[in-house]
Amino acid sequence: MNGCDIAWMLVATSLVLMMTPALGFFYGGLVRGKNALNTIMMSFAALGFVGIAWALLGYTLAFDAGGALLGGLSHALLRGVGLEAQGTIPQVLFMAYQGSFAIITAALVSGAIVERMRFSAYLAFITLWCLLVYAPVAHWVWGGGWLAGLGTLDFAGGTVVHVNAAAAALVAALLLGPRKDYARRAILPHNVPFTLLGAGLLWFGWFGFNGGSALGANASAALAFVNTLLAPAATLSVWTLLDLGRSGRATAIGAATAAVVGLVAVTPAAGFVSPLAAIVLGGLAALPSYYGLLWRARTRLDDSLDVVAAHGLGGTVGALLTGVLAQKAWNGSADGLLFGNPRQLGIQALAVAITIAFSAAMTAGILKLLAMLMPLRAEPRDEGLGLDVSQHGEEAYARDEGAILILPDAGPRRVAERDLALAPEGGRS
């Protein structure tokens, strides 16, 4: 084991964990104020439910040797996950690092189903999804499964995390149906600064996501780290120019989206391509997502926060371009199409296609199963009132006028009267 590697992976794990609340803010700013808490909670709750599901069962399904399709159960309930080395870091740390990936992947799906899903159904969904969809795909690519055997290049999870989550998001949006207001009236983001804050914190955390995927403090981590800086910068620039060319105005939500698209696209490529190639990759990745977003908004598909356009298209472009731009001189293991290995592009395309098919089918199965046990959607009345009040009994922006304090022993009294009673000199406020 190596102290430097352990130190970096401890930091990287906490950076990736922060990405989940950051995603909550990114998504939370884009919804209406009456659903702000619910949307942020969809990410926040994943920290708990998916975190535990991962430790108890998900880790073993993904990273136990097992077979080509699924890991075994030898690490179930964290059995045998101790301080022994996994690579150059303790296995417990490796388990935690991978757990932070499982958490954010499940949370990503929520962007397609905000403002309408019942929260308890959502909790059941992400817990099952982590075990039945994320863990198998992680096993295929990183846990010694069959896609790893084929030579798929996925440095930090372009396919495992982003394409996988986007396919699930598409199916979930289709099965849940659109919000009742969708395409009938204007639905505006309630806090664009939240979205920029979330995107900025996602970028910050992504240095741990990509840089940490080298699993050590080494040259590969440095390359991934630098590419994580450059690719989104290129996407952001191209996106802004597209905005300026189309409407003459550089939108803030566009900039936030662009940063995320660039990060998604560089995820599979981070440790495999040269920094200059990362800039090219980031710039190219802006195009499908930019036009995908414009197209989606004109359809009946209520993928509310554009998980498919940002993560699906961004992840697919990133995975394919990894097969084009990978360079042995930088990564020491594989070349892409541009460096004389066209077969790599085919492998990348196969991995993306298989992941989409598997994730879509399994997600549909999980949601159909849950629909038999419980309603998936909030009542139309609750949807109108907002899910903050109906699902959580709280408001993001509560006002205390007219709020009556319910005391456990006495009857209800007005807040103002109570304050006056406690402060006879005239009340505090």
């Binding site: 109108g384 009132l385 009040v389 709280e394 509560a398 007219g402 709020a403 304090l405 319910i406």
Partner: protein
């Protein structure tokens, strides 16, 4: 002339506006207000502090109309704002003593009759 004052649910506002425009009611003012009309109580909890929210968000529309427009205006609001549950709101029709249009100084009937869109000066 009458002043129609309607208090409606915020989530119904878009439908109400749509219905009013269909009824060719053009001039109106809205404000966000809070009120209570016997809705079932909303209980919220913040870190163990439980409160009953007595006031709900509502939108208040004020529409000055000439007499023959009162009925269409009221019907448009009634049709669009109703969910059938307590808390749908109220419509008040008030007599109006005098109306002035500030831009022209027109009075009464003329002041509440919408102007045709002015021909763009070229």
């Amino acid at each position: 002339m009458k002043l129609v004052v309607a208090i409606v649910r915020p989530e119904k506002l878009s439908e109400v506006l749509e219905a009013l425009f269909h009824a060719e009611v053009r001039g109106l003012t809205i404000s966000r207000v809070q009120g209570h009309g016997g809705e079932t109580e909303r209980v919220e909890t913040y870190r163990g502090t439980t409160v009953k929210m007595e006031l709900s968000e509502k939108v208040r529309l004020e529409i000055g109309v000439s007499d023959h427009f009162v009925e269409p205006t009221v019907q448009a609001v009634l049709g669009a704002a109703r969910t059938g549950l307590v808390g749908d709101g109220k419509v008040f029709v008030l007599p109006v003593e005098k109306v002035y249009r500030i831009r022209t100084g027109e009075e009464d009937q003329a002041a509440v009759t919408p102007v045709e869109a002015p021909v763009a000066a070229s």
